[in-house]
Amino acid sequence: MVAPPDNDVLWARSLHCSYSGAPALAGVSLGVREGEILAVCGARGSGKTTLLRTLSGQLVAEQGEVWFNSAPVHTMSAAARERLRRDRFGWISPEPTLVPELTAWENAALPLLLRGISHRAAKATAVEWLERLDIGAHARTRPYALSQAQRQRVATARALATTPSVLFADEPTATLHQTDRAHVLRTITAAARSHRITVILATHDAEVAGLADRSITLVDGRRVAAAPVITEAEGRAACSLSV
């Protein structure tokens, strides 16, 4: 087992994953420095979500290693990985998954409550982050009464409220309109810069990837230098003069 480089907060070596035989990751290696915003680009089905789930310890790779702050994540027990995710990681999924029984601020405060922080302090932090995301007016509203964009903002506030070491954002703006998209992304990047949060941002959008410090590209579960760009449609006549 090779010890990872010291300056990387998260480090992975030759990750292999497959879903019932179909390979999702085939030998991906990467290192993420502290406070860095890393974009993972790729089309749908290229293994972005699997990579993020593996790095965050939700999934254990069949082969390969994941190290977080010089601790091996791939050999941890399920309970230890759960604790790691609760205490050090944040997660934003493409669809806002909120607990429908709780109000917006309770949803945002839930990770803090799970860490054992007092009710009053958790509420103050959650409301502060909701206001930063322009949704403080809806703090007492339940998810069913919020629009998709508002729910995604609550999910973002929930992920940022704990100021995690690493924030995993899996296509956080996939279901949003342009204006909401810009605002949510700006909040995530601003929070990452000011609180030195490492962000791993999965996206298929080159524009979103442009906000990151560095980006890697996945194609069919492999890391490639850059995505192949298809410039012309196959089979279409390049020149129609013959007609």
């Binding site: 909120l98 839930l110 799970l114």
Partner: protein, 394 residues
């Protein structure tokens, strides 16, 4: 036959639930046939036979309640993308639910008929032939039409009730929301005052009618309310009182559950208390209604036991069968409702696990809910049972 094909591939637990419905249907069918046998054996006592038949309504209601709950939780009757893709919408799914219910209850009725004929001695070659010939009017020819009519009662009523409960709701244009949005929560149940009023009215009715009943009974040894095994007559006032009390308890269930949840999540809750309370408030109707029915049955059982347990022969085999049916059906309905609640919480559980919540959190929340409900409903049931039994004691 799609209903059969869907049934073949379903989970063992789902099949077990349907089997419970079939067994309950068999029990009720047997009770109905026994009432008919009583009429055959005692042509002179038509009112006693009618009373027996009417007592069958209680297990029948419990069985239909269970059948509807099972049909509601049946995964085969929920809108599914796989079936919706081939054009099987809510209307056809309702038909499938009704067919599945009819199939399992008809299976039960068939078993009931076989057991009945066997115990009468009409089918020979097995142990316990003619085991209850005297009780089931052996030797008198069986009226086939009457028997089939009685056996059809459970399948017809159950599948009609299932179809009525699961009928497709009309969706207003523009009223459809996107599927990712969580469903709007139900409003707080409002039945609590009515339930309390009914319990009070029932207990009062019982107190007012009891003295006449005891006086009419004459000797102090004769209990004023007769279980169906005895034919000395049941005073209408006491029966009405008990029915009102039971109805009141069933109505109290949702409101009381909601208030339990509200209390649980109050005053700076931690994550466990917060989740347990909110889920209880959300599930007040789904859990509260069968819980109220279970409490009503338990109260009736405790009251009857405290009155008759001391007697030499408290009840006969058919009364025992009926009581067991009611208890099992209502308890099974409660468990089915709890299971349904768990299924609808799948999204919540997934969301919590994604946030790194410990796997024990939802379990401890469920335990907390069960403990709170038990501490509230058990003393209530006991008190109501004791109050209901009190005026009948000497």
């Amino acid at each position: 036959m799609l209903a059969l094909r869907l049934a073949r591939g379903s989970h063992p637990l789902v099949l077990l639930r349907r089997l419970t419905v079939a067994a309950a249907s068999a029990g009720v069918g047997f009770l109905l046939l026994s009432a008919m046998a009583h009429a055959l054996a005692h042509p002179g006592e038509s009112s006693a036979s009618l009373l027996r038949l009417l007592w069958c309504a209680v297990p029948l209601a419990a069985t239909v309640h269970l059948a509807v709950a099972v049909a509601r939780t049946d995964p085969g009757t929920r809108p599914r993308p796989g079936l919706s893709a081939i054009g099987l919408g809510p209307a056809r799914l309702t038909a499938i639910a009704a067919t599945t219910t009819a199939l399992s209850t008809a299976l039960g009725s068939m078993v009931a008929l076989l057991v009945f004929l066997h115990l009468r001695g009409d089918l020979t070659g097995l142990p316990f032939d003619d085991g209850a010939g005297r009780l089931l009017a052996a030797g008198v020819p069986l009226p086939v039409g009457a028997a089939l009519t009685l056996l059809a009662v459970v399948p017809v009523v159950s599948s009609a009730a299932a179809a009525l409960t699961l009928r497709p709701r009309r969706v207003r244009p523009g009223g459809e929301t996107d599927p990712d949005r969580p469903a709007e929560p139900a409003s707080a149940p409002t039945g609590l005052p009515w339930g309390v009023a009914l319990i009070a009215a029932g207990l009062t009715a019982e107190v007012y009618t009891t003295p006449e009943a005891t006086a009419a009974g004459g000797a102090a040894s004769a209990p004023p309310l007769m279980l169906p095994g005895h034919f000395d007559g049941s005073p209408a006032g006491v029966l009405a009182g008990w029915t009102l009390t039971a109805l009141g308890l069933a109505l109290t269930g949702p409101g009381l559950t909601y208030r339990c949840g509200r209390l649980l999540q109050g005053v700076r809750p931690g994550p466990t208390r917060l989740l347990a309370g909110r889920i209880l408030m959300e599930d007040a109707r789904r859990i509260g209604r069968p819980l109220g029915v279970v409490c009503a049955v338990a109260a009736g059982g405790v009251a009857a036991w405290s009155l008759y347990a001391a007697g030499p022969r408290p009840f006969g085999p058919l009364t025992a069968l009926g009581a067991a049916l009611v208890v099992i059906c209502t308890t099974a309905t409660l468990f089915t409702a709890a299971l349904e609640s768990r299924t609808t919480r799948a999204g919540t559980a997934e969301c919590l696990l994604e946030q790194g919540a410990p796997a024990g959190l939802l379990r401890s929340a469920a335990g907390l809910r069960a403990a709170v409900l038990l501490t509230v409903f058990a003393p209530l049931t006991w008190t109501v049972a004791m109050l209901a039994a009190f005026p009948l004691r000497h």
